[in-house]
């Protein structure tokens, strides 16, 4: 239903703006959305288990700057990508540890790492943008093309397929649904709830970390203030995609649809010349409206 509305919107846009339905524009949107989708894959699994992660935007900034700094110290590019991603994994692990072992509510724990990781990014860069001595290859992942399609598109597709597989075929995915559906029942069924949740945080941290590297590559710089509000873009995509805020329901494909809805709306409004201030208002209305509509439809089906 929501999807139908969006389709109508997209069709209308393609009439209103000649440049909307072009490959260049599609590539544009894809590149913008790909960061949200790649991180969103893991975030969907985490939110299905009933947990949150607010730190991903800051992780994005931190790992992006780390990868840039490492390259300026002449660390090979491939190694800097791996190391920076691992820093993201480490933060994910820390989040998981705080939530599971220290029993801190996930919103609070990841709010903490959100501030701390951002601060760390600012400290290691001295608040400056790293742009000298990065070399040509640094922008390959983020700006490069395979044929006519951006590389980021392929990375995104791989991430989506991988997480669709995890979600639908593996014990990890199943446990995420079980824990989010009823944590107590899951625990009583002998599921090691703690280690599953830690693992999910680890995945989120890793993908956010990798997205950070990609982002830096796209921008061609290590920027400590990048990705502010990114966590909410991801959460909006996940929620629009039908993942329940309480957990237990949701899907990666839904999240992809959600991310593209937001992406196309922003892009379409851009092409129509709507000021970005108004775009934020539209985004807010779409989120609340879509969730409301979704609930009304579900209620109608039940009756």
């Amino acid at each position: 239903m929501v999807v139908v509305g969006i389709l109508i919107f997209i069709i209308a846009l393609s009439f209103l703006s000649r440049s909307f339905l072009t490959l260049t524009n599609f590539n544009n949107v894809t590149r913008q959305v790909s960061f949200v989708v790649i991180t969103g894959c893991a975030v969907t699994a985490l939110m299905i288990s009933g947990n949150f992660d607010l730190s991903i935007g800051s992780v994005l900034a931190l790992t992006g700057t780390i990868s840039a700094i490492l390259v300026t110290y002449s660390v090979p590019l491939w190694l800097s990508i791996i190391l920076a991603t691992l820093v993201g994994s480490g933060i994910g692990l820390l989040n998981g540890f705080m939530v599971v072992k220290l029993n801190i509510p996930s919103i609070i724990a990841t709010l903490g790492t959100m501030y701390a990781a951002r601060g760390l990014a600012l400290v290691i860069t001295g608040g400056n943008t790293i742009h000298l001595g990065l070399g040509e290859n640094f922008t390959l992942l983020g700006r490069g093309y395979l044929g006519m399609i951006p590389i980021t598109f392929f990375i995104m597709v791989i991430a989506v397929l991988l997480f669709y597989f995890i979600e639908s075929k593996t014990t990890l995915g199943r446990y995420a649904y079980a824990i989010g559906g009823n944590r107590r029942s899951a625990f009583l069924s002998g599921i090691n709830v703690g280690s599953i949740v830690v693992l999910l945080y680890l995945l989120v941290g890793s993908l956010a970390g990798f997205s950070g590297v990609l982002m830096a590559s796209r921008l061609g710089v290590g920027q400590p203030m990048v990705g502010v509000g990114f966590e909410f873009d991801v959460i909006v995509a996940v929620i629009l995609g039908g993942t329940s805020i309480e957990g237990g329901e949701g899907s990666v494909f839904g999240m992809v649809v959600g991310a593209f809805i937001v992406g196309f709306i922003a892009n379409g409004l851009n092409l129509l010349g709507v000021h970005s201030f108004y775009q934020s208002i539209v985004k807010g209305l779409v989120l609340v409206g879509a969730v409301l509509l979704d609930r009304k439809i579900k209620e109608m089906i039940v009756e």
């Binding site: 075929k169 593996t170 014990t171 990890l172 199943r174 446990y175 649904y177 079980a178 559906g181 009823n182 107590r184 029942s185 899951a186 625990f187 009583l188 069924s189 002998g190 599921i191 090691n192 237990g248 329901e249």
Partner: protein, 503 residues
Amino acid sequence: MGEIILRVRSLSKNYPGVCALRGIDLDIERGTIHCIVGENGAGKSTFIKILTGAEKRSGGDIYFQGKEFKPRSIREAMNLGISTLFQELNIVDQLTVEENLILGREPHRYGIIRKPKYSERVFQLMNDFAPDIPLKKRAGLLSFAEKQVIEIVRAIAADASLLIMDEPTAALSESETRRLFTIIKSLKREGLTVIYISHILDDIFNIGDVVTVLRDGEAVDTNSVKEISRDELVRMMIGKVTTDKYVPRMVDYKEKVLEVINLSTNKLKRISFCLYKGEILGFYGLRGSGKTEIVLSLFGLDRPGEGSIFVQGRKTYFKLPRDAISQGIFIVPEERLTEGLILKLSIRFNISISNLDSIASFGVIDAKDEIDLTKEYMRIMSIKARNVEQQVATLSGGNQQKVVISKCLHAGANILLMDEPTRGIDIGAKEEIHRIIRKLAEQGNAVVIFSSEYSEVLSLCDRIYLLRNGEIVKELKNQEAEPEEMLRVITGGRWNSHEVKLE
């Protein structure tokens, strides 16, 4: 016969697949304390829910003070003059006694709360009944009994003329019970009518005027308390034994699968028992007698303070449910919906979840195996559903319970701990669950039933332990068990229940 304040005529209530009330007729006289007794599942709680407006009736009429009574909510019932003291109290712990007393009716001007008038009736009543409870104290610091007094006072101050009390003494100590009774008696003197629901017989003979027995959703009989003996009352509650009869089975009393010695927690006192292969063992006791606590300790959910557990002769120690499951122990929890199942998920997901590793390699689930095994359990247990993908939330209680049992078996359990296995399940499905339990025992599993229904333990169990106040007070073989005697033992003298909390 005085004035009838509440007149109930052929009141009935059907839940999907269950008939909870089958045409109840009842007259309640103004100014009396009218007790309603009955076993679990007799229809007491359904009856209260309809009277309080929490549930809609399926048929019948209720007249309250001569007028037709059809409340749509608890609040509406209250406004009409029927207040209820539920087992779960509606007291906000963070507020003070005073704030709780006037909750929802705070005197205010433009939304700003003003000082309460202590001349108000609610404060006078509080002063009459419990002058010792300080008004400025935080409610969270009060005992259960003290909070109960606040609720009673609140109900009377709201001009209730009929007060329903649901098992009010279940969590009270002896002295607290006495105080409650004093209050109830003074309410009666003021002309208030009380419907008193309980299965503690002592209470009824202590303060009741009239007693009505409910059984299987019917009002069996109403008598004056003075004219009825305890034995007669017990007999009426029990009725005649149903067709679902105990069939003696051959149990090999040599092979112990589980032995518990001196298990003690803050609620349990030196629980010791043995369970044999192929046996169905019963624990029979009231709510709060410690049944659930035994289940919790045996499943690694509650750390026993002392005592030892032997599984197949080996001493074990469970830190987590996982540890118990790995020893072949699994529970069918009392709270089927919140602990047994994951309601949003399908039958297939619910059954396989307890042992996904058996159908997965390297973490990848074999969907075909999973569907096959679900179909197999649906066949063995005769789970009625459209297909394996049906959400368990949409199944009937009986079918849901079969899913939970399937889950246990899939986990490889051979010792099943079943806490109130047929609560909320209608009679037909109940017998079916009982047949399944017997079959499990025949196949060499050992089953422990924890129940507050005598008929359940009597029709299933080879041996029965009677529980009272966290203690095993008697062990019986099925053949020597008499329902009257069992009920008498578990409801026996009152107990000091500082330790017994509501489950």
